[in-house]
Protein backbone atom coordinates (compact mmCIF):
# COMPACT_ATOMS: atom_id res chain seq x y z
CA UNK A 1 0.00 0.00 0.00
CA UNK A 2 2.99 2.31 0.32
CA UNK A 3 4.61 1.59 -3.02
CA UNK A 4 4.72 4.12 -5.85
CA UNK A 5 2.77 7.29 -5.12
CA UNK A 6 2.40 6.39 -1.47
CA UNK A 7 6.17 6.20 -1.06
CA UNK A 8 6.27 9.88 -1.94
CA UNK A 9 3.57 10.54 0.64
CA UNK A 10 5.60 8.72 3.26
CA UNK A 11 8.70 10.65 2.26
CA UNK A 12 6.72 13.83 2.78
CA UNK A 13 5.71 12.61 6.23
CA UNK A 14 9.36 11.81 7.05
CA UNK A 15 10.48 15.24 5.86
CA UNK A 16 7.83 16.85 8.07
CA UNK A 17 8.93 14.75 11.02
CA UNK A 18 12.61 15.58 10.57
CA UNK A 19 11.90 19.27 10.98
CA UNK A 20 11.46 18.85 14.72
CA UNK A 21 14.81 17.25 15.71
CA UNK A 22 16.65 19.50 13.27
CA UNK A 23 14.90 22.57 14.70
CA UNK A 24 15.88 21.45 18.18
CA UNK A 25 19.52 21.19 17.12
CA UNK A 26 19.44 24.65 15.54
CA UNK A 27 17.72 26.29 18.51
CA UNK A 28 19.95 24.51 21.01
CA UNK A 29 23.06 25.78 19.23
CA UNK A 30 21.55 29.27 19.15
CA UNK A 31 20.70 29.21 22.84
CA UNK A 32 24.17 28.00 23.76
CA UNK A 33 25.65 30.85 21.81
CA UNK A 34 23.33 33.35 23.49
CA UNK A 35 24.21 32.00 26.92
CA UNK A 36 27.91 31.84 26.03
CA UNK A 37 28.17 28.24 27.04
CA UNK A 38 28.35 24.77 25.61
CA UNK A 39 27.55 22.36 28.37
CA UNK A 40 28.23 18.67 27.92
CA UNK A 41 24.53 17.94 28.49
CA UNK A 42 23.54 20.30 25.69
CA UNK A 43 25.98 18.70 23.30
CA UNK A 44 24.60 15.29 24.21
CA UNK A 45 21.07 16.58 23.59
CA UNK A 46 22.04 17.86 20.15
CA UNK A 47 23.84 14.62 19.34
CA UNK A 48 20.80 12.62 20.40
CA UNK A 49 18.43 14.63 18.22
CA UNK A 50 20.77 14.37 15.24
CA UNK A 51 21.08 10.61 15.76
CA UNK A 52 17.31 10.30 16.03
CA UNK A 53 16.83 12.14 12.74
CA UNK A 54 19.47 10.05 11.00
CA UNK A 55 18.02 6.79 12.28
CA UNK A 56 14.56 7.78 11.07
CA UNK A 57 16.05 8.47 7.63
CA UNK A 58 17.72 5.03 7.67
CA UNK A 59 14.48 3.35 8.69
CA UNK A 60 12.59 5.20 5.96
CA UNK A 61 15.14 4.19 3.33
CA UNK A 62 14.83 0.58 4.45
CA UNK A 63 11.05 0.82 4.28
CA UNK A 64 11.20 2.42 0.84
CA UNK A 65 13.55 -0.27 -0.50
CA UNK A 66 11.19 -2.92 0.87
CA UNK A 67 8.07 -1.27 -0.55
CA UNK A 68 9.69 -0.99 -3.97
CA UNK A 69 10.92 -4.57 -3.91
CA UNK A 70 14.58 -3.56 -4.05
CA UNK A 71 15.35 -5.57 -0.97
CA UNK A 72 13.74 -8.34 1.03
CA UNK A 73 13.89 -9.25 4.67
CA UNK A 74 14.48 -12.95 5.27
CA UNK A 75 12.28 -14.24 8.05
CA UNK A 76 14.18 -15.88 10.87
CA UNK A 77 13.46 -16.90 14.47
CA UNK A 78 13.66 -13.77 16.63
CA UNK A 79 13.20 -13.52 20.37
CA UNK A 80 10.66 -10.78 21.11
CA UNK A 81 11.84 -10.52 24.67
CA UNK A 82 15.42 -9.71 23.77
CA UNK A 83 14.31 -7.48 20.88
CA UNK A 84 12.07 -5.37 23.12
CA UNK A 85 14.76 -5.12 25.77
CA UNK A 86 17.35 -4.10 23.22
CA UNK A 87 14.99 -1.51 21.71
CA UNK A 88 14.23 -0.05 25.14
CA UNK A 89 17.98 0.23 25.69
CA UNK A 90 18.42 2.07 22.39
CA UNK A 91 15.53 4.42 23.18
CA UNK A 92 16.58 5.07 26.78
CA UNK A 93 18.37 8.41 26.36
CA UNK A 94 15.75 9.82 24.00
CA UNK A 95 13.03 8.79 26.45
CA UNK A 96 14.90 10.39 29.34
CA UNK A 97 15.32 13.60 27.35
CA UNK A 98 11.57 13.72 26.73
CA UNK A 99 10.59 12.79 30.27
CA UNK A 100 9.32 9.35 29.37
CA UNK A 101 9.81 6.28 31.53
CA UNK A 102 10.25 3.08 29.53
CA UNK A 103 9.25 -0.31 30.79
CA UNK A 104 9.61 -3.73 29.17
CA UNK A 105 6.93 -6.27 30.03
CA UNK A 106 7.03 -9.72 28.55
CA UNK A 107 4.55 -11.92 30.31
CA UNK A 108 5.92 -15.45 30.32
CA UNK A 109 8.54 -17.19 28.27
CA UNK A 110 7.75 -17.32 24.59
CA UNK A 111 9.26 -19.22 21.72
CA UNK A 112 10.91 -17.06 19.03
CA UNK A 113 8.69 -15.58 16.35
CA UNK A 114 9.23 -15.41 12.60
CA UNK A 115 10.54 -11.93 11.79
CA UNK A 116 13.72 -10.26 10.72
CA UNK A 117 16.03 -8.83 13.38
CA UNK A 118 17.12 -5.76 11.43
CA UNK A 119 13.63 -5.03 10.19
CA UNK A 120 11.97 -5.52 13.55
CA UNK A 121 14.51 -3.33 15.31
CA UNK A 122 14.03 -0.59 12.69
CA UNK A 123 10.23 -0.82 13.02
CA UNK A 124 10.32 -0.66 16.82
CA UNK A 125 12.75 2.26 16.84
CA UNK A 126 10.63 4.20 14.34
CA UNK A 127 7.53 3.55 16.41
CA UNK A 128 9.31 4.48 19.63
CA UNK A 129 10.65 7.76 18.25
CA UNK A 130 7.17 9.00 17.43
CA UNK A 131 5.56 7.87 20.66
CA UNK A 132 8.36 9.25 22.80
CA UNK A 133 8.74 12.61 21.12
CA UNK A 134 5.01 13.38 21.19
CA UNK A 135 3.58 14.31 24.52
CA UNK A 136 0.00 13.20 24.81
CA UNK A 137 -0.96 13.63 28.41
CA UNK A 138 -3.99 15.52 29.56
CA UNK A 139 -2.19 16.66 32.67
CA UNK A 140 1.22 18.15 32.10
CA UNK A 141 4.37 18.11 34.18
CA UNK A 142 4.20 14.42 34.96
CA UNK A 143 6.47 11.62 33.98
CA UNK A 144 4.94 9.67 31.12
CA UNK A 145 5.08 5.96 30.90
CA UNK A 146 5.59 3.86 27.78
CA UNK A 147 5.51 0.08 27.90
CA UNK A 148 7.22 -2.15 25.36
CA UNK A 149 5.33 -5.38 25.76
CA UNK A 150 4.65 -8.80 24.29
CA UNK A 151 1.80 -11.13 25.04
CA UNK A 152 0.24 -14.27 23.59
CA UNK A 153 -3.06 -14.31 21.69
CA UNK A 154 -4.84 -17.09 19.75
CA UNK A 155 -3.45 -15.54 16.56
CA UNK A 156 0.17 -15.42 17.62
CA UNK A 157 2.47 -13.28 19.72
CA UNK A 158 1.72 -9.57 19.86
CA UNK A 159 4.49 -7.05 20.39
CA UNK A 160 4.02 -3.33 20.60
CA UNK A 161 4.23 -0.11 22.54
CA UNK A 162 1.50 1.07 24.87
CA UNK A 163 0.82 4.18 26.89
CA UNK A 164 -1.95 6.32 28.24
CA UNK A 165 -3.71 6.69 24.91
CA UNK A 166 -7.16 5.65 26.01
CA UNK A 167 -8.97 7.35 23.17
CA UNK A 168 -7.31 5.49 20.31
CA UNK A 169 -9.71 3.69 18.02
CA UNK A 170 -8.85 1.27 15.22
CA UNK A 171 -10.69 3.35 12.62
CA UNK A 172 -8.48 6.33 13.48
CA UNK A 173 -5.39 4.34 12.55
CA UNK A 174 -6.99 3.27 9.27
CA UNK A 175 -7.87 6.89 8.54
CA UNK A 176 -4.33 7.98 9.46
CA UNK A 177 -2.90 5.46 6.97
CA UNK A 178 -4.98 7.05 4.24
CA UNK A 179 -3.85 10.53 5.31
CA UNK A 180 -0.16 9.62 5.41
CA UNK A 181 1.78 12.50 3.87
CA UNK A 182 -1.43 14.37 3.07
CA UNK A 183 -2.26 15.74 6.48
CA UNK A 184 0.15 17.54 8.76
CA UNK A 185 -1.15 15.63 11.74
CA UNK A 186 -2.94 12.47 10.61
CA UNK A 187 -3.22 10.72 13.97
CA UNK A 188 -4.08 13.35 16.54
CA UNK A 189 -4.81 10.98 19.41
CA UNK A 190 -1.33 9.45 19.31
CA UNK A 191 1.22 11.97 18.11
CA UNK A 192 1.55 15.65 17.36
CA UNK A 193 3.59 15.40 14.18
CA UNK A 194 3.26 13.80 10.79
CA UNK A 195 3.39 10.28 12.24
CA UNK A 196 6.26 9.36 9.93
CA UNK A 197 7.77 6.94 12.43
CA UNK A 198 4.46 5.08 12.72
CA UNK A 199 4.09 4.78 8.95
CA UNK A 200 7.70 3.72 8.47
CA UNK A 201 7.24 1.06 11.16
CA UNK A 202 4.13 -0.18 9.39
CA UNK A 203 5.88 -0.33 6.02
CA UNK A 204 8.70 -2.42 7.48
CA UNK A 205 6.33 -4.70 9.39
CA UNK A 206 4.27 -5.33 6.25
CA UNK A 207 7.39 -6.64 4.58
CA UNK A 208 7.49 -9.22 7.38
CA UNK A 209 3.89 -10.27 6.66
CA UNK A 210 2.39 -8.41 9.61
CA UNK A 211 1.25 -4.84 10.22
CA UNK A 212 0.65 -2.26 12.91
CA UNK A 213 -2.75 -2.25 14.52
CA UNK A 214 -4.30 -0.45 17.43
CA UNK A 215 -3.86 -2.65 20.46
CA UNK A 216 -4.81 -2.63 24.11
CA UNK A 217 -3.06 -4.15 27.01
CA UNK A 218 -4.13 -3.94 30.63
CA UNK A 219 -5.05 -0.25 31.10
CA UNK A 220 -2.91 1.02 28.26
CA UNK A 221 -3.43 1.37 24.52
CA UNK A 222 -1.00 1.73 21.67
CA UNK A 223 0.18 0.19 18.42
CA UNK A 224 1.27 -3.42 18.06
CA UNK A 225 1.87 -6.17 15.50
CA UNK A 226 1.15 -9.89 15.60
CA UNK A 227 3.90 -12.41 14.82
CA UNK A 228 3.67 -16.12 14.20
CA UNK A 229 5.76 -18.40 16.40
CA UNK A 230 8.73 -20.02 14.74
CA UNK A 231 7.34 -23.42 13.64
CA UNK A 232 10.78 -24.94 13.50
CA UNK A 233 11.22 -24.43 17.21
CA UNK A 234 7.63 -25.24 18.13
CA UNK A 235 8.12 -28.83 16.95
CA UNK A 236 11.24 -29.34 19.04
Amino acid sequence: MYAGKDSTATLQAVAEQLKVPLTIIARQAELNQALGQTEADDLRAMHLQATTALTLIDCYLLGLALAQGQTQLELEPVSLSSMLTSTAHDLYYLARQHGVELEVQVAGRYAPVMANRRGLKAALLSLGYDLISSNNTSGDNRYRHLTLAAHRTPHGLVAGMYGEYQDIEAHEWRTALKLCGQAGQPFTSLCAGSGAGLFVADIILRSMTTQLRVGRRQKEAGLAATFLPSQQLVFI
Binding site: R27, L31, L35, Q97, N136, G184
Partner: protein
Protein backbone atom coordinates in the same frame (compact mmCIF):
# COMPACT_ATOMS: atom_id res chain seq x y z
CA UNK B 1 7.26 39.97 35.01
CA UNK B 2 5.29 39.12 31.85
CA UNK B 3 3.81 35.62 31.86
CA UNK B 4 3.61 33.41 28.79
CA UNK B 5 1.65 30.20 28.26
CA UNK B 6 3.65 28.07 25.87
CA UNK B 7 1.67 25.32 24.11
CA UNK B 8 4.32 23.09 22.61
CA UNK B 9 4.06 19.28 22.24
CA UNK B 10 7.80 18.67 22.07
CA UNK B 11 9.18 18.85 25.59
CA UNK B 12 12.79 19.26 24.46
CA UNK B 13 11.95 22.21 22.23
CA UNK B 14 9.77 23.64 24.99
CA UNK B 15 12.68 23.51 27.40
CA UNK B 16 14.82 25.53 24.99
CA UNK B 17 12.09 28.16 24.51
CA UNK B 18 11.53 28.33 28.24
CA UNK B 19 15.25 28.90 28.90
CA UNK B 20 15.40 31.68 26.33
CA UNK B 21 12.23 33.36 27.53
CA UNK B 22 13.20 33.15 31.18
CA UNK B 23 16.61 34.62 30.37
CA UNK B 24 14.76 37.57 28.87
CA UNK B 25 12.56 38.12 31.87
CA UNK B 26 9.45 36.14 31.01
CA UNK B 27 7.69 33.71 33.28
CA UNK B 28 6.75 30.59 31.27
CA UNK B 29 3.99 28.06 31.85
CA UNK B 30 4.47 25.13 29.49
CA UNK B 31 1.73 22.71 28.45
CA UNK B 32 1.48 20.18 25.64
CA UNK B 33 -2.20 19.95 24.74
CA UNK B 34 -5.05 22.27 23.83
CA UNK B 35 -7.11 21.41 26.90
CA UNK B 36 -4.12 21.90 29.17
CA UNK B 37 -3.58 25.22 27.38
CA UNK B 38 -7.11 26.40 28.21
CA UNK B 39 -6.63 25.30 31.83
CA UNK B 40 -3.24 27.04 31.99
CA UNK B 41 -4.62 30.30 30.62
CA UNK B 42 -7.44 30.13 33.14
CA UNK B 43 -5.04 29.53 36.02
CA UNK B 44 -2.04 31.64 35.02
CA UNK B 45 -3.78 34.65 33.43
CA UNK B 46 -0.91 35.11 30.96
CA UNK B 47 0.05 38.23 29.06
CA UNK B 48 0.49 36.20 25.85
CA UNK B 49 0.20 32.70 24.42
CA UNK B 50 2.73 31.02 22.11
CA UNK B 51 1.03 28.20 20.24
CA UNK B 52 2.07 25.25 18.07
CA UNK B 53 -0.81 24.28 15.79
CA UNK B 54 0.13 20.60 15.65
CA UNK B 55 -0.74 19.46 19.13
CA UNK B 56 -2.23 16.13 20.18
CA UNK B 57 -5.92 15.40 20.66
CA UNK B 58 -7.30 18.82 19.65
CA UNK B 59 -5.31 20.87 17.19
CA UNK B 60 -4.21 24.46 17.59
CA UNK B 61 -6.99 25.85 15.46
CA UNK B 62 -9.57 24.24 17.72
CA UNK B 63 -7.70 25.74 20.66
CA UNK B 64 -7.82 29.19 19.05
CA UNK B 65 -11.57 28.98 18.46
CA UNK B 66 -12.24 27.97 22.04
CA UNK B 67 -9.73 30.50 23.39
CA UNK B 68 -11.33 33.38 21.50
CA UNK B 69 -14.81 32.31 22.55
CA UNK B 70 -14.10 33.64 26.05
CA UNK B 71 -14.52 37.44 25.96
CA UNK B 72 -12.22 37.99 28.93
CA UNK B 73 -9.30 36.53 26.93
CA UNK B 74 -9.88 38.53 23.78
CA UNK B 75 -7.07 40.94 24.60
CA UNK B 76 -4.45 38.26 25.18
CA UNK B 77 -2.12 38.17 22.18
CA UNK B 78 -1.43 34.82 20.54
CA UNK B 79 1.67 34.04 18.53
CA UNK B 80 1.49 30.94 16.36
CA UNK B 81 4.90 29.28 16.15
CA UNK B 82 4.40 26.16 14.08
CA UNK B 83 6.16 23.50 12.02
CA UNK B 84 3.37 23.72 9.44
CA UNK B 85 4.77 25.27 6.29
CA UNK B 86 3.36 28.68 5.23
CA UNK B 87 2.10 27.09 1.98
CA UNK B 88 -0.14 24.77 3.96
CA UNK B 89 -1.54 27.71 5.89
CA UNK B 90 -2.33 29.64 2.74
CA UNK B 91 -5.91 30.85 2.79
CA UNK B 92 -6.06 30.68 6.57
CA UNK B 93 -4.06 33.85 7.26
CA UNK B 94 -7.06 36.13 7.11
CA UNK B 95 -9.05 33.92 9.46
CA UNK B 96 -6.06 33.76 11.82
CA UNK B 97 -5.33 37.46 11.94
CA UNK B 98 -8.87 38.83 11.75
CA UNK B 99 -11.29 36.27 13.19
CA UNK B 100 -8.92 34.72 15.70
CA UNK B 101 -6.77 37.81 16.34
CA UNK B 102 -3.47 35.99 15.97
CA UNK B 103 -0.67 38.53 16.41
CA UNK B 104 1.98 36.73 14.38
CA UNK B 105 2.35 33.48 12.45
CA UNK B 106 5.89 32.12 12.58
CA UNK B 107 7.32 29.11 10.74
CA UNK B 108 9.19 27.37 13.54
CA UNK B 109 12.11 25.81 11.61
CA UNK B 110 13.00 29.24 10.18
CA UNK B 111 12.30 31.30 13.29
CA UNK B 112 15.29 31.96 15.50
CA UNK B 113 14.93 32.45 19.23
CA UNK B 114 15.63 36.15 18.70
CA UNK B 115 12.84 36.40 16.13
CA UNK B 116 10.39 34.76 18.50
CA UNK B 117 11.49 37.17 21.22
CA UNK B 118 11.04 40.08 18.86
CA UNK B 119 7.53 38.93 17.95
CA UNK B 120 6.68 38.73 21.64
CA UNK B 121 8.05 42.18 22.30
CA UNK B 122 5.93 43.57 19.48
CA UNK B 123 2.85 42.00 21.02
CA UNK B 124 3.78 43.01 24.56
CA UNK B 125 5.30 46.48 24.34
Amino acid sequence: MKRIVLIEPNSVLAKLYRQMLQKNGYDVVHVTTAQAGIDAVDAAKPHAVVLELQIPTHNGIEFLHEFRSYPEWNDIPVIVNTVITPERLQGLEESFTQDLAVGAILYKPKTSLDQLLLALKEQLP
